[in-house]
C-alpha cells in the first residue's frame, strides 16, 4: 500500500502537524520505504493468535477506579499564570473570537 503526497498531507492534518511543503516528498518516500517492510505482516495467519492482554498468568491487574493523590511538589495554583475557583484561566484564543462572529443557523 503506497502512501501518496496527499496521504501525507492528510495524516499531517490529523496529527496537528504543519509540514513544510518542501519536506513532503522526502517524508512520503521515507514512509513508503518503512511501510514496504510492513507488508510481510499481511502474509502471516493470525486467526488463532491469542491477544496479548497483560503479562504472565496474572493478566492485567485491575484496581478501583480511583488512585492515590499525586504528590505535588508545589501548590496546584502555581501551575498556571492565573487560577480562579480551582480552575486554570487560559488566554482567549483567536478561534473563540472567530466563532463568536460566526452566524449559527
Amino acid at each position: 500500500m503506497a502512501v501518496t503526497r496527499d496521504d501525507v498531507a492528510h495524516i499531517a492534518l490529523l496529527a496537528r502537524l504543519a509540514l513544510d511543503e518542501a519536506r513532503v516528498p522526502a517524508l512520503t518516500a521515507q514512509l513508503n520505504g518503512i511501510l514496504a517492510h510492513m507488508d510481510a505482516l499481511q502474509k502471516v495467519d493470525t486467526s488463532n493468535a491469542i491477544p496479548v492482554a497483560g503479562v504472565g498468568d496474572a493478566g492485567m491487574p485491575l484496581r478501583a477506579d480511583q488512585g492515590p493523590p499525586i504528590p505535588l511538589a508545589r501548590p496546584r495554583d502555581t501551575f498556571a499564570p492565573a487560577v480562579r475557583d480551582g480552575f486554570f484561566l487560559v488566554p482567549r484564543l483567536a478561534t473563540h473570537e472567530d466563532a463568536a462572529g460566526e452566524v449559527v443557523e
Partner: protein
C-alpha cells in the same frame, strides 16, 4: 556513610562529569545537573541505612524529577520541570541515592543512537566518533565514563540493552509491570519500562531491587513480591537450561560476533548449564510489528504536547494554527516521522491492515517465547545487537537501517519478558553485548546466568 564521604562521592562524580561532558570535544551525555543541590541531598542522606546511601545516580531525561528539568531531549519540553517525581525516583531517594544529573537521549526515547536529541548527539566514551547507542545513550555513557555506577534509562524496544552493549556496561530491561511507569514520559505505553544500567551485574541487580514493585499509581504494575536479585549471585549453573535461538544466529551474523557468543555459551556449559538449540520462528517479523505498534501508541501519547498544557507554545492562526505551529517547531524529524507513521496505521481504512494485524503477530511472538520456556528452558542467550557501536551519522539517511539495530532486542519488549545485556568481549576494540532473556518475572534466573557468565569471562569480557 559520613557526610563528608557522601558529599565527596558527589563531588567526584561532578569532577568526572566536567572532565568528559562539556566543551567542543565533550561527550554531551549530560543535559541537566545542579551540583549544589546534589551536595545538599548527599549531606541529607549520609546517615541513611538504605542500600544506595550516598550513591550518585544519573537519570534519563524522560523520567520525572523535581529539581532538574525533564525535557525528553525535545525542544517542546525545553525547561519543563515536573511538579511530581517518578515512583522510581522516589524509591531511589528512599534508598539513599543522590540524583545528580539528567542524561541526553533520543527525543522522547525514539531512536537507537542518541543522535535524535534536540540538544545535539551524545558520543561514545570509548571513541567519540561513534554513537553510544540509544535511546538511553547518555545514561549508558555516564556509567561507561565513570561518572556513576548506576543509572536509569527507559526501554521501549531495546533502549537500555543496546546502548549498554555499545558502551561496554550492563543494562537491564525488567518484565513489563515489574517497575512503575508513573513519572516516565509515555512513548508506547504497552512496551515502555524503566531499566537500569550498572557498571557490573551486581550494580544493576541492586538498582532493580530498589525500584521494582507494585505501585498504586501505575495499574499495570504486578502484585508479585520483589526478590533479592543479588541472591542470584552464584558460581555454578548446574541444572540450568540455556536456549540458543537459531534465528538470532543467522548465516549473515558477523563471524567475530558469533565467535564471542560461542565463547560465552562454552563458558555457560563449563559452569554446568545445558545449552539447547531452540527456535523463535516469528523473530523476523518483530521489527515490522514494533514499528507499527510503537509509532501508533506514540502518535496518541504525544497528542498531549499541543502548546496548551506543557512547555513550548508558538502562536499561530487560531487554535489549530497554534497546535500545528507548536508541534511542528517543537518536535524533531524522527518524532515527526513516527507520529505520521502512527497516525497513518491507526487511520480509517488502514487500522485493520496494519495495527490490528501487528497486534496479532505480536501475540505470535509472545507465544514463541512461552513455547520455549514451557519446554524447560530457563533463559535464552543471544547477541544484544548485530554490530558494535557505529559512526555518528552512519545511519542518518535511512530510518529503517537504524531501526534494524534493534532487531535482537525488540522481541523482549513485544513479549513483555525481562532481558539484559552484559559485556562479552570486543570486536575491533569495541564492546559487544550478550543478551540473557528470561520468562515473565524470571529476573532471578536471568541474573543467575548473568552473574555466572560475568565471573567466568572475567577480564576477557572487556578485551
Amino acid at each position: 556513610m559520613s557526610d563528608a564521604a557522601a558529599v565527596g562521592a558527589v563531588r567526584n562524580a561532578f569532577a568526572r562529569m566536567t572532565e568528559v561532558n562539556a566543551g567542543r570535544d565533550g561527550l554531551n551525555i549530560i543535559l541537566w545537573s545542579d551540583q549544589a543541590s546534589a551536595e545538599r541531598d548527599a549531606a541529607a542522606v549520609a546517615e541513611s541505612d538504605g542500600p544506595l546511601a550516598g550513591v550518585p545516580v544519573v537519570v534519563k531525561d524522560n523520567i520525572a524529577t523535581l529539581t532538574l528539568p525533564t525535557s525528553c531531549g525535545s525542544r517542546i519540553l525545553e525547561g519543563y520541570v515536573s511538579p511530581y517525581e517518578a515512583t522510581a525516583i522516589t524509591k531511589l531517594r528512599a534508598a539513599g541515592a543522590v540524583i545528580i544529573a539528567k542524561s541526553n537521549c533520543d527525543e522522547f526515547a525514539m531512536g537507537s543512537s542518541t543522535e535524535h536529541s534536540a540538544f545535539g548527539p551524545a558520543k561514545n566514551p570509548l571513541d567519540p566518533r561513534l554513537v553510544p547507542g540509544g535511546s538511553s545513550g547518555g545514561s549508558a555513557a555516564a556509567v561507561a565514563s565513570g561518572i556513576c555506577r548506576i543509572a536509569l534509562g527507559s526501554e521501549t524496544g531495546g533502549s537500555v540493552r543496546q546502548p549498554a552493549a555499545f558502551c561496554g556496561v550492563v543494562g537491564v530491561k525488567p518484565t513489563y509491570g515489574r517497575v512503575s511507569r508513573f513519572g516516565l514520559v509515555a512513548f508506547a505505553s504497552s512496551l515502555d519500562q524503566i531499566g537500569v544500567f550498572g557498571s557490573r551485574v551486581d550494580d544493576a541487580a541492586l538498582g532493580l531491587e530498589v525500584i521494582a514493585g507494585r505501585d498504586a499509581r501505575d495499574s499495570t504494575t504486578a502484585q508479585h513480591s520483589v526478590p533479592r536479585y543479588r541472591d542470584s549471585n552464584g558460581e555454578r549453573l548446574d541444572g540450568v537450561v540455556i536456549g540458543r535461538p537459531k534465528e538470532y544466529f543467522p548465516e549473515s551474523l558477523d563471524p567475530a560476533l558469533r565467535t564471542l557468543c560461542d565463547r560465552s555459551l562454552d563458558a555457560l556449559r563449563s559452569l554446568g548449564a545445558e545449552v539447547r538449540d531452540v527456535s523463535l520462528p516469528h523473530t523476523d517479523l518483530a521489527i515490522p510489528v514494533y514499528y507499527v505498534i510503537a509509532p501508533a501508541e506514540a502518535s496518541s501519547n504525544l497528542a498531549r504536547f499541543d502548546g496548551v498544557r506543557y512547555g513550548l507554545r508558538i502562536e499561530g492562526d487560531g487554535l489549530r494554527g497554534m497546535y500545528e505551529a507548536t508541534r511542528s517547531r517543537g518536535f524533531g524529524a524522527e518524532v515527526t516521522r513516527r507520529i505520521l507513521l502512527g497516525t497513518y496505521v491507526l487511520s480509517a481504512g488502514y487500522y485493520d491492515a496494519y495495527y490490528k494485524k501487528a497486534q496479532g503477530v505480536r501475540a505470535l511472538i509472545a507465544q514463541d517465547f512461552r513455547d520455549v520456556f514451557d519446554a524447560g528452558v530457563h533463559a535464552i542467550f543471544t547477541p544484544t545487537a548485530p554490530t558494535p557501536a557505529f559512526a555518528i551519522g552512519a545511519k542518518s539517511d535511512d530510518p529503517y537501517e537504524m531501526y534494524l539495530s534493534d532487531i535482537f532486542t525488540v522481541t523482549a519488549n513485544l513479549a513483555g519478558v525481562p532481558a539484559m545485556s552484559l559485556p562479552i568481549g570486543r570486536m575491533n576494540g569495541l564492546p559487544v553485548g550478550g543478551q540473557v532473556i528470561a520468562p515473565h518475572f524470571g529476573e532471578p534466573d536471568m541474573f543467575r546466568v548473568a552473574y555466572a557468565l560475568e565471573r567466568a569471562l572475567g577480564r576477557e569480557a572487556h578485551k
